[in-house]
Amino acid sequence: MKTIKVSVVTPDGPVYDAEVEMVSAKAKSGELGIMAGHVPMVAPLDIAAVRLKKEGRTDYIAINGGFLEVRPDVVTILAQSAERAETIDLVRAQSAKERAEKRLQGNPDSIDIKRAEIALKRAVNRISIAETK
């Protein structure tokens, strides 16, 4: 099967770099599946898992937003932070989730609500990915 090169890059350095058969990601406008030879494309990503299928197994990466750039032979995911399922610190993610939940219950008129919501979404995303691996 033809493969496509995927690299996940964050400001703190590359997170993932490999040849895979298919990339599935959740864009803001819906799920995307990308295989080799895809037409060049750019799409913003949701806070969700990116699934990379290769040789019968699937790697999961937690992506905190960012966007995806596709070229016929290479897919680049640019996110402000990304973690591979193996490296997610489950305890830290749990405590981040609790923190965000507590903040959401606090004063509802503060501008931090939106930030707390995003933080909660990130934490939930990381926990679910860490548990499915």
């Binding site: 890059v9 964050t10 400001p11 803001k28 494309m41 750019v42 966007f67 932070s81």
Partner: protein, 285 residues
């Protein structure tokens, strides 16, 4: 002439100082190494994001975004990156001097600008001059990760988006080499000077170019700030390393000249003693 004991104690204290500066030099050297590799790891991200921004912003002329448009300037934001502590030669003072001069030249009243200070030295400088510091971050780690400054980067970009300021400049020490850093002024927003370089790919946009710019441009502006911070950190450590190296060298010079003085004084004391003994013996005869 200073007594033997005075000289000895000066030699000792200079020696101790030089041990400290030597240690600081070595600490900075290793931090500088790491800072340089951090900056290198960041480079691919910046290149890639720049490539996509350029191809979208220049490819589709119909796509517009407030961040790409110049608007009449009522208020200017200045992001100033300094260190949290001194002992780094001219690292902090050259940036601060430059910013201070620029602000005085460009603005007549304090309502025309806001300052975003990254680093304690810069914050204290502006606060002591009664200049309004809108946002500040102190205690940025020596090897910052993006999450350490994502909050201030976001708030800074929000200042522009909420029209609290109409343009944003950034001042930092650009790392040229281990012995040279230069003060750099960079315009962050609006993004007017996107360079056209390399081959441009024409993309399909999902859902459309504007929705992508909505995500992409803030991310781009934030990463510009992060990039400058990494650059500044590399400069900071190399400036501190150089400053500490010259302090150590100077201490060594002082120790050398003091030892010479000490030996002379000792010799003089011995000579005097011999003269006294000889004189005493001669008087007995």
């Amino acid at each position: 002439m200073a007594s033997l004991r005075d000289i000895k104690s000066r030699i000792n204290s200079t020696k101790k100082t030089s041990q400290i500066t030597k240690a600081m030099q070595m600490v900075s050297a290793s931090k500088w190494n790491r800072a340089e590799s951090n900056a290198k790891r960041y480079a691919p991200y910046m290149e890639k994001i720049q490539e996509v921004v350029t191809s979208i912003a220049s490819g589709s002329t119909d796509a517009s975004h407030p961040m790409l448009k110049t608007r009449p300037v009522k208020k200017t934001g200045y992001v100033v990156i300094t260190a949290d502590k001194g002992l780094a030669g001219a690292y902090n003072s050259s940036v601060l001097r430059h910013v201070f001069k620029t602000i005085q030249q460009r603005h007549k009243s304090a309502d025309e600008y806001v300052i975003i200070a990254i680093g304690r030295v810069g914050r204290d400088f502006f606060v002591s001059r009664k200049m309004h510091v809108e946002l500040e971050v102190i205690g940025v780690p020596d090897q910052p990760s993006f999450s350490d400054i994502s909050d201030i980067a976001k708030s800074t970009v929000n200042l522009f988006q909420n029209e609290l300021c109409d343009e944003l400049y950034m001042y930092y020490n650009h790392y040229v080499s281990a012995i040279s850093q230069e003060v750099t002024e960079k315009k962050i927003l609006p993004l007017t000077d996107i360079e056209l370089s390399g081959s441009l790919t024409s993309y399909e946009y999902e859902p459309d170019a504007e929705a992508i710019l909505e995500v992409l441009l803030p991310q781009y502006a934030e990463s510009l700030i992060y990039g400058a911070l990494l650059d500044g950190k590399a400069s900071e450590h190399s400036a501190r390393m150089t400053a500490m190296k010259s302090a150590t060298d100077n201490a060594k010079e002082i120790i050398d000249s003091l030892s010479l003085q000490y030996n002379r004084a000792r010799q003089a004391a011995i000579t005097q003693e011999i003269t006294e003994i000889v004189g005493g013996a001669a008087a007995l005869e």
